[in-house]
Amino acid sequence: MTERRFFDEMALQGGDPRVPYADYARWFSNEDPKSLLKKSAEAETFFRRIGITFNVYGQKDADERLIPFDIVPRIISASEWRVLEKGIDQRVRALNAFLADIYNKQEILKAGRLPEHIISRNAAFLPQMIGMTPPGGVYTHIVGTDLVRTGENEFYVLEDNARTPSGVSYMLENRETMLQMFPELFTKMKVRPVSSYPAELRRSLGECAPPNFDGTKPAVAVLTPGIHNSAYFEHSFLADHMGAELVEASDLRVVDGRVQMRTTRGYKALDVIYRRVDDEYLDPLTFNPDSLLGVPGIMDAYRAGNITIANAPGTGIADDKALYSYMPDIVEFYTGEKAILQNVPTWRCSEEESLKYVLDNLADLVVKEVHGSGGYGMLVGPAASKKELKAFEAKLRARPDNYVAQPTLALSTVPIMTKAGLAPRHVDLRPFVLVSPKRVHITAGGLTRVALKEGSLVVNSSQGGGTKDTWVLGD
């Protein structure tokens, strides 16, 4: 493979740093690298003490692991952010309109803008949601739109994550850590705050309460599968910072037609449940009867309009990678506008011609499972050995409709702190979006994930990725 040039957001190799990084670069040049490295180590101790850890799936006895944190911020200018914000807003509104359509009249299928099989073969489609309009008409209340950058003005949406985006606690704790370690930097630079996210989440969820809720303030709870879930820290973090109850299925029951939680003084009704339990396990009466993580009858109460479930069941259809390839059409169909944010060109291997192209160019492409997530089961062509390519080709031929392929994007880099000084590493960005009937709220910032291994393009935490604080500068 020939050496590729990547866009470095700090412009490390060129003479002057790019404008958004100018102040930071000046500050950095006056710092002692040794003491910065020491701060890196302090940050890790800090994370461990407050317990920001995740459990790795499939490793039952493994220690709770930390996601490595890098102390060099990822900086985005005010004007860059404005474009992203507009694009995300458009995309998220389109997603909600799409979900409402799919579970009701399916106009987009009737109009022939989306092939029927994209929905009919979509494992995340829930028939039980047909004809169901959630309170406030919102389907995906919390979205994490994954973005990558390839040039000065080139951003792509990589995934929409309309189901259950996680990682927001890292956005908040990363900032908290940076504020503690480098307070002086925040006086020098105008960094937009992210700390209001939990309050915004609470407000946004409250605005989605069922119309007939009887209190003045809707009762909100976070539903977690429990302390063994890999994202338990985030569940308790969000409940804590929202001032909401953190509940498990065993705390909940349908009483008087409403979902209620068992308190020390009897049952108390809930209006909104921010659930971090997958659809399949949500209600053993309606879905998987063996689920111990679910609340029997919650779907009945939901259809009767007595509870809001966020995100709505069945939103996962939008996370399907075959569907993703139609997102530009979807945005246009529902908003009447061209999509502001670009999609990564995607070959659907279910289509014969595409499959042929993919097989012919496997070594240059990234191939992903249609329903996959977390970076599992994917092939990064340029990084794969001949043997790996061969093996993957067999998988592709056996089940072509299980895969889509994309060009290997030249992901931008941002420097990280290493023992040898600053070194460029590939990054992506997950901003967090809240949707209520009243507004779409996008926190100025997000989670920057960084591939810590030199040259690696895989940023997932389960595959050796780390995180950075993300700074959106004020005007």
């Binding site: 579970y103 029927e116 028939p127 004809g131 169901m132 349908v254 037609g257 009945d300 009767a304 309009g305």
Partner: protein
């Protein structure tokens, strides 16, 4: 024709039940060919939680058994004005897309027996979907003798077909499985049937509906070798028995259950 229906379902347990939820799909709605004049559901030993329309627009009621009681009974009573449409229900008004009814469920996945039955009517169906389905209904009735007590509510279509015996539920599910196998959308209907000379019945009825191009949904009662007419009341529909079942429940503990049904359908 005006049908008068009284349907009492009682579940008794050998010990008090701590917690149980039941989903009832026992209330017919006014639709093509039927007008519900009055209908009521009375519960003993249980309390209603919510009532709503499910994804197939079935009127669904969630009830909770009263803690510590050892029996629950559900009494439905009402009058329905029925019209003879010769089985043709029409294009329907629901939001559920047709393709949903083309997908097999675990209860309807065809095996060799059902595929063989379907094969017999393949040609006829290609020529005329309606004729083909009439033949299919007849072929299933020939292959699977109506006999109670041989199958359970959970018996998959293929098992009943290969056993060669079953009840109306099995006939309906086999018909659905075969129709889908031939590329026709099909669904399960649970309901009531006015029987000749018989007032007291042992169980409610079930049949299949198949989507025929040009006609829309058309009913086929395999067990009685007819298309539903003004003796039939449609109560609930689904992709298989499980989705349209009059009662679907979940119960904690290991009490032994006994079911007792008393049903009268009369003019």
């Amino acid at each position: 024709m005006r049908l008068n229906i009284t349907h009492k379902t009682t579940y008794s347990y050998d010990r008090p039940v701590h917690y149980a939820l039941l989903q009832l799909r026992m209330t017919p709605r006014s639709a093509a060919g039927q007008k519900v004049l009055n209908w009521s559901t009375t519960l003993e030993g249980a309390t209603s939680q919510v009532t709503y329309d499910d994804h197939f627009r079935n009127v669904t009621e969630l009830i909770e058994m009263d803690a510590g009681s050892s029996a629950v009974s559900i009494t439905c009573q009402g009058e329905v004005e029925v019209e003879n449409l010769n089985g043709v229900i029409g294009m329907g008004t629901g939001l559920a897309p047709l393709w949903l009814f083309l997908q097999q469920t675990p209860a309807t996945v065809p095996g060799p027996t059902i595929r063989k039955i379907a094969q017999q009517v393949k040609k006829a169906t290609e020529a005329s979907q309606l004729d083909g389905m009439h033949q299919l209904s007849g072929a299933i009735a020939d292959a699977v003798t109506y006999r109670t007590g041989m199958t359970l509510s959970t018996t998959p279509a293929e098992d009943a077909a290969s056993e060669g015996q079953g009840v109306c539920q099995d006939h309906a599910q086999i018909m659905i499985a075969a129709a889908r196998h031939l590329g026709l959308p099909a669904r399960y209907v649970s309901g009531y049937l006015l029987m000749d000379e018989v007032v007291d019945q042992e169980a409610s009825h079930a049949w299949a509906e198949v989507w025929i191009e040009g006609l829309g949904w058309v009913g086929f009662d395999v067990s009685n070798a007819v298309c539903p007419d003004d003796r039939y009341v449609r109560v609930a529909l689904g992709r298989d028995y499980g989705e349209a079942a009059p009662v679907h429940g979940l119960r904690q503990g290991n009490a032994t259950e006994e079911l007792c049904v008393s049903l009268q359908v009369q003019q």
